[in-house]
């Protein structure tokens, strides 16, 4: 995509800015619009309510109205707050969650960067969000914010370890960090996806399947914790901490936090889909191949990627209305005493199988 724009404009920096703007304006913003509404509609459906119905046909324009409202809201910065850090925090949080999309392949024709570090970069840059959250909590000068931020930071960094260990076991199998190459390995049919043992053959593939499923479950649970979703939403536990680290934020700054949260939700879902479920690859052949239409394939791939990503986002919403919130000590026990040892053992077993 970048090359096409480069041919068109002839300026590297400008064409990269356009290329980077594509996922932001064509994907993340529409996704956030749809997902906020979907979240409310899904929750309404699960609780036997109707959800928003007033704005637009069947309440479809509710989120647009919400955003317009947030634009007009007064921006209140408490006189006790540390103003510089308070204003810097939403920028940092959003930058951290948007930069993740640079390494995720959206389709065969679009990936932000081909840098070889790929998934390692994703793990690293998503930690920037922790710094932003701590900054927000500390600068607000509010008890709820501080406690929410500290809890959130402890949770995100703890669950980063099982995530990294599962990713490591996949890297051992694939031998590459680049997500584009990783996706290309899972091409053609769905039994080439890593959840079904990847491109390995014979006995190795059959042995891998149970451990890949365990790895997928660990990765999904820990990414759920990394984006602070229920059942791991103790940083924002409404009944005890009001709104956690963004209690003091209002207007546009609050909207940016919200947008970053939804961007993160999709980012982790996309990473799960890319690592285990073939990313943008179709589970069976492409229509474009069938009819010999070359340009149809990237569009189909983008469609598959969106479907897979949205499916995992939907599962996140589903879990939110199914499971109760964990306590802080249960959360830490779950991570340190169950997920990390399991991920460790899983890593070693996958290593042994890869040597067969």
């Amino acid at each position: 995509m970048y090359d096409i724009i480069l041919d068109f404009t002839g300026n590297e920096i400008l064409s990269m800015f356009i290329s980077a703007a594509l996922p932001l304006f064509m994907f993340i913003l529409p996704f956030a619009l749809v997902a906020v509404l979907a979240e409310r509609k899904v929750s309404a459906f699960m609780q036997d309510r109707l959800g928003p119905t007033r704005v637009g046909p069947k309440g479809l324009l509710q989120t647009v109205a919400d955003i317009l409202k947030l634009f007009q809201k007064e921006d209140i910065v408490a006189s006790n707050a540390d103003k510089k850090l308070f204003n810097l925090a939403p920028i940092l949080v959003f930058a951290g969650s948007f930069a993740v999309f640079a390494a995720i392949p959206f389709s065969g024709a679009y990936i932000g960067t081909f840098a070889d570090v790929g998934i390692f970069f994703v793990v690293a840059i998503s930690s920037l969000v922790v710094a932003g959250i701590l900054m927000a909590g500390w600068a607000s000068n509010n008890k709820y914010s501080l406690l929410g931020a500290v809890r959130s930071a402890a949770q995100i960094i703890s669950y980063e370890i099982p995530t990294a260990l599962v990713i490591l076991s996949l890297v051992m199998l694939a031998g590459t960090l680049n997500l584009y190459e990783l996706t290309e390995m899972q091409t053609e049919y769905f039994w080439n996806w890593y959840i079904f043992g990847g491109p390995a053959t014979g006995i190795q593939k059959i042995l891998l399947i149970p451990f890949m499923i365990v790895g997928f479950i660990i990765l999904y649970i820990s990414t759920l914790a990394e984006v602070n979703r229920t059942p791991f939403d103790i940083p924002e536990a409404e009944s005890e901490l009001v709104a956690g680290y963004h209690t003091e934020y209002s207007g546009m700054k609050f909207a940016i936090f919200f947008l970053a949260e939804y961007a993160n939700m999709f980012a982790v879902s996309a990473i799960v889909a890319t690592l285990f479920f073939g990313g943008f690859q179709s589970p069976f052949g492409y229509l474009g191949d069938l009819f010999g239409v070359e340009w149809l394939i990237p569009i189909e791939q983008f469609g598959w990627f969106t479907v897979k990503g949205l499916f995992f986002v939907f599962v996140q919403m589903w879990l939110r209305w199914t499971l109760p919130r964990l306590r802080v000590d249960q959360l830490m026990t779950m991570c340190w005493k169950y997920m990390i040892p399991y991920a460790f053992v899983n890593l070693i077993i996958i290593g042994i199988i890869s040597l067969i």
């Binding site: 970048y2 990269m16 800015f17 290329s19 980077a20 703007a21 932001l24 947030l70 634009f71 007009q72 809201k73 007064e74 921006d75 209140i76 910065v77 408490a78 006790n80 920028i91 930058a95 948007f98 930069a99 640079a102 932000g112 960067t113 840098a115 970069f121 793990v123 607000s140 000068n141 509010n142 008890k143 709820y144 501080l146 500290v150 930071a153 402890a154 960094i157 370890i161 990294a164 260990l165 490591l168 076991s169 890297v171 051992m172 031998g175 590459t176 209690t247 003091e248 207007g251 909207a255 940016i256 802080v328 830490m332 026990t333 340190w336 005493k337 990390i340 890593l347 890869s354 040597l355």
Partner: protein, 140 residues
Amino acid sequence: MLTEFGKIFVFILLAVFFVLIAFFLAKLIRPSRPTREKLETYECGENPEGSPWVRFNLRFYVVALIFIIFDVEVVLLFPWALSYQDYGIYGFLVGIIFLLVLGLGMAYEWRKGDLEWARPKQIPPKLKKIKEELTEAVME
């Protein structure tokens, strides 16, 4: 010449610009009528009580320390995971020994109770028996 990492930098820059532009646009149309009550720290409508920097559980600090050890380990293991298959079984063993040493450290932390969120209370030795013996001795 824009390198692959330069492209990542463009992504980060774009995110920063996007947020700044959104802030600027909101500034143009939003009202600004601060009052003393509005600017006060939010505490459910009550007057803020005491310092906002409350003392929080020391466990958070311990978690951060353990995390650093594990995160550094992960950074070391990524290059190993990429290349161990070139060296066959020996390459694998090198990594496993490293992992086992790390697991030993984790077992030690677990045994010491550092992974417990609420630390188990130290049970002091029972003094009752000693007391009885002492009183008996005094009586004699």
